[in-house]
Amino acid sequence: MTPIAVIGLLLLSVALFAIAAATLWWMLHAWRTPAVLRTTGFEVRRDEPRCSFSLLVPARHEEAVLGHTLDQLADLDHPSFEVLAIVGHDDDGTRSVAEASAARHPDRVRVVVDQNWPKNKPKALNTALPECRGDVVGVFDAEDEVDRRLLRQVDTCFTTTDAHVVQGGVQLVNFQSSWYSLRNCLEYFFWFRSRLHLHAEHRFIPLGGNTVFVRRDVLQAVGGWDPECLAEDCELGVRLSALGARVEVAYDPTLVTREETPPTLVALFKQRTRWNQGFLQVLRKGEWRRLPTSRQRMLARYTLAMPFLQAITGIAIPISLLAMMRFHAPVPIAMLSFLPAVPTLATLAFEAAGLREFGRLYYVRPRAWDYVRLVAGTFVYQVILAAAAIRAVARELRGARGWEKTAHVGAHRAPSVATIDLRDGVGASVEQANL
């Protein structure tokens, strides 16, 4: 091995180690000390409601799940709120489901028809924004399982803090559906339970796509969502952070919005491509450069580039190890090349601990088999994430910015609901239609 190759591999090892270690440390933010865990918890209080809410539910080809979601939202425990279902002008199936629900709850649910073309989620949201009457605008997805007590808690959060934005918890719960759903669930768990709190603390936060609540005046003042961004939620969060908005993260396992993982690996791959491309767009747009401190800008740069760094590390670590073994590097150098494996394996161990914690919070008992799947699936999952990151870069360079929508079948719902949806044959056909 030439000295230059050795030095190059060493630098690569150190860089990979740093990336993996930083990601791990941020992933574990909430568990740093018991005190931090307490402060990142959601103080459950029952103050008198003071705010009114407009809840936006953009839906496209969601006739399988939308009706149930709207009925559930209409039934939330809060005196003052409205639900706006946003449907496309070309999507009669979804529209009729939404209108049926509006007919069942005339004083709660309204239907807004989005005429834009081509269609995407931010355009739908912007269409509904002028129609909102509440003090606070909330966003939900068509397949969300929302806890009945959520609005009162969010209300308390707005009235007891000076927050402009409240991000509620979202959790994928169907971790036993498939090997990748397990990993997907854990990703959400670590993100909402832990990592988002770090972002809120540093006042730079890429918001989530649903269960996010923004004061209507603030939203209108900044002009709503970016209609061309594939990660409109993240973009809004970054833009608001740059303006100094205060964000509260309200995570409580009893109040999280439950979602399902994408039904197939291909769907997951496409969803991840869209997110990555969205992050890339936000990175290029450069709003984050207006963040006041250099530390925040570093965090922003790092977070937005994360999917790509993750892709690089996931692939580069095994390759650098193989290279070291193959070319018989001197023993101390070969030892150092194992450095990035340390945080990587540590991450895996903490994911196992996280799975246990997840099971404790959501009253499910992960089986030994789930831990096996967790470990066994790591590498393949990394490869899929890496491939999605590469595809995102390729699409962005090509200028392909179409919205690849994720289909929903209701696997996260109580069995009875999901079965009804599937028996109608609608859920299955939607899945087919969208892929």
Binding site: W31, R32, T33, G223, P292, V331, M335
Partner: protein, 544 residues
């Protein structure tokens, strides 16, 4: 109204300024730390000064240099000078981190000025290790809930017990591992119960294991302490951090062997698996502790001759800790003693320094008993019977203090006035003056490095006596270089350790026995068991 104005009105500032830097400076933090701990600092500082003085006095004269000390000092030198783990083939006898740390000490030592004997330099490093350990004993005692007087008591016991005094100054891997193990326990009892501390505890425990492999036995103690101390909600993450840090560090050792192609046994190389097999199974057993005539029994008796009080006291109190509610926090320490006793009873080879791992735990337990009794006695909520019992135990402890204290001080003063090392140093001086540098000498490890520094050839000029065959090592390099074995040598230095090895390994070390038989004494130093002889070998001597 512009958007910007509207945003300001909404409480959003579109052009925020740099956040004010409110970080507290290091010196301010240090000052507030010192102020917060002023009472402990006032107690510990003089005790640590005392520890330095006691540990440092008579350092080069007592106890007599021990073979292992020479081994580690020489291997530390090999790390520093040759950038190798040993000057002979490294055969995985112990993980190397202990003497790597020793090698690090060589730089400050070189600045301070080297002494005539490499072992004395190594012992200086041990003074540092034992003083750090003493400080950590105090901190650990405090973190386990002991009052300041009891914590100070643990420190004093740990420093002044004659057995500790004898063991702590010798250049032994155990002495290097102990401060790391104590640091791991201190971190596992971190008041903030942070994830960092749990991971750092794992790192410290890992360094302890890589310094001396037997400390692997004590890692469950740290894990248990961490488990007891951690918050229920962060416990699994803390234990994961600990386990991952410890596991990764310890795995680095087999990884090193793997990368060198020396993990699995093979025809033409040493291997880690062979070495582990040797240490655990093949090494000559020193017999059962319960057998009066065994080597293990002799080892234990040398410990008890120096001080029976602390070891027995620690064991008794350790047993009580499992049943007494007021000593709950001490249970992991009691577990440490239980593990060590079980390991001792297992049979196999019992090394003399084995006791070092038990000393801090015994000291802490005895002090912990005093603390618990004093608390119970002064507690209003305890029943009168309990308070009476506690009072009685306190009186018994104070009485034993009156008996043991002066006994220890007397013993310590005696030991610190002894000169056991002189015969070895004199023999070394004689060889340096009278033996030409072209001659070959069989020595024990204690004088090897000094003679190399005097100009003898490090490869085949001076040679460790047990490198001549494979009774007590798995490195064939010397035997291969000198095919005629002992006949290639001109001198052999017979030390107490060499003679004891011959007794302890009957049937082994044949080349050494032959060399002794075919040689005559040319110089003698010391008397009785401590005698060191320089003997000239007659290579044509009668076939023994």
């Amino acid at each position: 109204m512009s958007v910007d104005e509207r945003l300001v009105e909404l409480g959003l500032d579109p052009e925020p300024t740099e956040a004010p830097d409110v970080r507290i400076g290091l010196s301010a933090r240090a000052r507030s730390w010192a102020w917060f701990h002023r009472r402990s600092i006032a107690i510990v500082t003089p005790l640590l000064v005392l520890a330095v003085v006691v540990q440092h006095s008579n350092l080069s004269r007592w106890p007599a240099p021990f073979d292992d000390e020479g081994t580690y000092v020489a291997q530390g030198w090999a790390v520093q000078v040759h950038h190798q783990l040993a000057h002979y083939t490294y055969w995985y006898d112990h993980p190397p981190l202990g003497w790597i740390q020793l090698a690090l000490w060589n730089w400050p030592q070189a600045v301070l000025g080297r002494s005539t004997h490499a072992i004395t330099d190594g012992r200086n490093a041990m003074v540092i290790a034992s003083v750090v350990s003493a400080a950590l004993v105090y901190v650990l005692a405090r973190r386990l809930g002991l009052g300041r007087p009891a914590a100070a008591g643990a420190l004093v016991i740990f420093t002044l017990c004659p057995l500790a005094l004898a063991q702590h100054r010798m250049v032994l891997l155990d002495n290097i591992a102990v401060p790391w193990l104590l640091a791991a326990l201190v971190l596992a009892a971190s008041p903030r119960r942070s994830l960092w501390a749990a991971g750092a505890a794992g790192v410290c425990a890992g360094v302890a294991v890589l310094s001396k492999e037997t400390f692997l036995l004590l890692t469950p103690v740290v894990a248990w302490q961490l488990w007891r101390h951690a918050d229920r909600k962060t416990r699994s993450f803390c234990l994961t951090a600990f386990g991952v840090a410890l596991g990764m560090l310890v795995l680095a050792y087999p990884l090193y062997a793997l990368l060198k192609g020396e993990l699995i046994p093979g025809a033409d190389h040493v291997s880690l698996v062979d070495a582990i097999r040797f240490q655990l199974f093949d090494r000559n057993s020193s017999g059962s502790v319960l057998d009066h005539a065994s080597g293990s029994r002799a080892t234990v008796e040398t410990w008890l001759a120096l001080d029976p009080w602390l070891l027995f006291g620690g064991l008794v109190v350790g047993g009580c800790a499992f049943f007494s509610k007021s000593m709950r926090s001490m249970r992991p320490l009691a577990l440490a003693l239980v593990i060590l006793v079980l390991a001792m009873l297992r049979g196999g080879y019992l090394p003399g320094p084995f006791v070092i791992g038990a000393l801090p735990f015994a000291a802490l337990l005895v002090a912990g008993l005093g603390d618990a009794m004093a608390r119970t006695f002064s507690s209003r909520s305890a029943s009168p019977q309990l308070r009476f019992g506690a009072g009685l135990t306190t009186v018994a402890l104070l009485l034993s203090l009156v008996v043991v204290g002066p006994n220890w001080l007397h013993h310590d003063r005696q030991l610190l006035g002894t000169n056991d090392a002189q015969p070895t140093w004199d023999a070394e001086g004689w060889v340096a003056q009278n033996v030409p540098r072209t001659e070959r000498i069989i020595v024990d490890d204690t004088m090897w490095l000094d003679l190399v520094r005097q100009g003898f050839d490090e490869h085949t000029g001076v040679v460790w006596f047990f490198k001549l065959d494979s009774t007590n090592n798995l490195d064939p390099s010397v035997a291969q270089q000198l095919p005629n074995g002992w006949r290639e040598f001109n001198f052999i230095v017979s030390t107490p350790y060499l003679r004891r090895s011959l007794v302890e390994m009957p049937g082994g070390l044949q080349p050494v026995r032959d060399a002794l038989k075919s040689s005559r004494v040319v110089a003698t130093f010391g008397a009785g068991d401590n005698t060191v002889e320089v003997r000239a070998i007659d290579p044509q001597g009668p076939q023994p």
